[in-house]
Amino acid sequence: ADVNWKMATPWSGGPWLERDVKGYAKRVADLTEGRVDITVYPGGTLYSPLKVTEGVQKGVAEIGNNWMGYDWGIDKTGVLFAGYAGGLTPEGYMLWMYKGGGLELWQQWRQEEFDVISYPCAILGTDIFLHSTKRIQTLEDFQGLKLRTAGAWADIASRLGASTVVMSGGEVYSALERGIIQAAELGTPEINLPTGLQDIAQYVIVPGIQNPGGLLECQVNKEAWSELSEHDQKMLKLAGKLSVFESWLDSSAADLDAFRELQEGPNEIVELEQSFIDEAARVTREWAEEQATADPWFKEVLESQTDFKNKLKTWSEYRLPIGSLAD
């Protein structure tokens, strides 16, 4: 290989690491005919898993895979791309990115504020709302719920009336099992199933309004990027786009299987009432507008995303929803 790159990630394991990120590295090797060799490092083995961006900026890793929400403390704009309660579904994100001007904003923002080359390289499905020991269906059920969550949703869920508890990821399982918390959110069906949360909490609450979809990014150190030929630079971005598509296929198929397993198991699946979903959307809008007043980038990206969301409204008028043609 002409260049050997280290790739930092926040993931300690699971399909995001093993399938999506390693799949990306493999695709890069194929498309550059072996000229770019990427070794993927599990989260925290190179440096702190929450500082992928800073490490890429400083060249400790030449390339990184990241969920932009982890840069929250420095810049909140990332959640609009990475996925949050007011975001888009996976299909919506793909359209906004590649056909709705999302990608240009994404790259410009990353370049200007963080000085890294960045592009999408995996898509995330819709999360499960909660694994809960208490049945949650209405906003009333949600009041005072001892809920472990993080990031933007911690703020929004508190405004909706939950008692959000903050604790480190390592403590969640034992805390839910022993009743310190009543509910926890984590990720998609495929991600949640191996953690066994369904064995200690009876109710599985859907849909995942706190995270309807999202994107992972690949980011490259500028100096390392400039060492590539123009052709190989194109191939790295193309590999990213292919990975978005591949990860949509893989994660959607895996989520279908995982959710079916949950349905056929002993858990009760509970669907949130529409009134809850509407109220959550309203509070989320309020929250996002507050952020936008403080940050011009957040404002610009939010406007683009909101416009595109409104454009997508007609979708259901001419297309049948996925799954509607079943017997």
Partner: protein, 440 residues
């Protein structure tokens, strides 16, 4: 060239440490030099990002809290009362103080997953009393190190929670799978202590010269010394097990409880409190600096090509079946010498699991075996975190030599457990099978 730097890190570290330079300092120095050769100025970001990980890890808040409990109970004389009260009843049991220490270790292991914290608190409670009763110094060291190391295998444990999703097994199954091996280990430790006390009474002398107490005196002593302290310990454990508090919160309640207890016994003085606080600060700094140094060393080692080398070593060995499993376990044992346990898990487990399950080995069984091996590594000299932590809290009359000699028989007990786990996989797999399915 890169892996060449990575592999020079080990001899360099060993030389510095054997020359007598502090362990944490040695790890940080070697990490800096090797990282600088590899990344230039970027190394400093890498090292400081580990500071960020360690110094903002809320789970580690249990470390100062447990140390404070230990220091308070020791300095205020409560620990001594507690052990005296136990001793009154168990005097006829050979090695009773050692047995109590192992039991205490098991109990604290069930309360917390932070290994160094478990060990320091038991050490502070038991070492001075065992010394006073003229226990053999090697036996004291071994008992404390071994009991302290139970924290990794007896649930809950952070290592397990990190390992489970990476290995694609459920946390519940893994906790259930670890329970019996953990208890077997504790039982073997007790058996060893009792055995040695019977064979060599000089190692664990029974106290004969004190006057024989009447039953009412015994009961009085128990009610005053044993009951309140046990109540304190069970308050800490109970709040965790009943889901009232997280281990860290419960440790804080326990710390507040020790203050109240010392006031109730009228042994509280500002001097004792101040002394306990200062010990808390310095021992916390010492333990967490080793944790930090291990993290820094591991990060640079892996980034300098160590990860590639370890991984290609595994694949080029081209072993199959039992050979592959053995090779992975040996690598884990060696890696556990210097690297922090969680890094070892993250690097080896993703590689190991496909190989292991490919040969039809049960993933839960393998994960449990892996953890038992890691724990043995934690106990095995020359690079044994368990011994380094003990060093910080024992008086100088217990030397490193005592400690190295003392842990050997307990490593033997660990290996017996390992053999049992390998010969009787049911020891691991029975409980998860019984408990499979929902717990609600």
């Amino acid at each position: 060239m890169t892996s060449y730097v990575a592999f020079l890190m080990f001899p360099a570290l060993l030389i510095l440490i054997l020359a007598g330079f502090p362990i944490a300092f040695s790890m940080i120095s070697v990490a800096l030099v090797a990282g600088y050769l590899q990344f230039g100025d970027g190394v400093i970001f890498q090292l400081l990002s580990k500071m960020d990980d360690v110094a903002t890890n809320s789970v580690l808040a249990a470390v100062p809290l447990f140390i404070f409990i230990g220091a308070m109970l020791e300095r205020s004389g409560i620990a001594e009362r507690l052990f005296d009260a136990v001793h009154v009843w168990t005097r006829r049991v050979p090695g009773s103080l050692g047995v109590s220490a192992v039991l205490l270790g098991t109990i604290f292991a069930a309360a917390s997953g932070v290994v160094g914290a478990t060990e320091t608190v038991i050490g502070m409670l038991a070492v001075p009393i065992m010394l006073k009763h003229a226990y053999d110094k090697s036996l004291i060291s071994g008992t404390i190190c071994a009991s302290g190391s139970l924290g990794t295998v007896i649930p809950p444990s952070i290592t397990v929670i990190v390992l489970a999703p990476v290995a694609n097994v459920s946390v519940g199954d893994l906790f259930a799978g670890l329970l019996f091996p953990g208890l077997v280990m504790a039982a073997l430790f007790i058996a060893y202590v009792v055995g040695i006390a019977m064979l060599k009474p000089a190692f664990a002398p029974r106290e004969e010269e004190t006057p024989v107490l009447s039953i009412s005196q015994k009961i009085r002593m128990t009610v005053f010394a044993l009951v309140p302290t046990m109540a304190l310990i069970f308050t800490v454990l109970g709040t965790i097990l009943l889901g009232i508090a997280t281990p860290t919160e419960a440790a804080a309640c326990g710390a507040a409880g020790t203050l109240i207890l010392s006031l109730a016994y009228r042994t509280f003085t500002w001097g004792i409190l101040w002394n306990a606080l200062r010990r808390t600060a310095s021992i916390t700094a010492m333990i967490l600096l080793i944790v930090l140094g291990g993290n820094m060393f591991a990060g640079v080692f892996f980034a300098s090509g160590g990860m590639d080398s370890v991984q290609s070593l595994l694949s080029t060995l081209g072993l199959s079946g039992a050979g592959a499993v053995t090779a992975i376990l040996v690598l884990a044992f060696l890696a556990g010498f210097v690297l922090d346990l969680i890094s070892v898990v993250l690097i080896l487990i993703p590689l190991a699991m496909p190989i292991v399950t490919g040969y039809g080995v049960d993933p839960v069984w393998f994960a449990v075996t892996f953890l038992v091996v890691l724990q043995t590594s934690y106990l095995t000299p020359p690079m044994a975190p368990s011994i380094f932590y003990l060093r910080a809290i024992t008086p100088p009359e217990i030397t490193l030599r005592h400690m190295y000699r003392g842990v050997l028989p307990f490593i033997g007990m660990q290996l017996v457990t390992l053999v049992l786990v390998i010969l009787f996989p049911g020891l691991v797999l029975w409980l998860p099978e019984q408990m499979s399915g929902p717990s609600w």
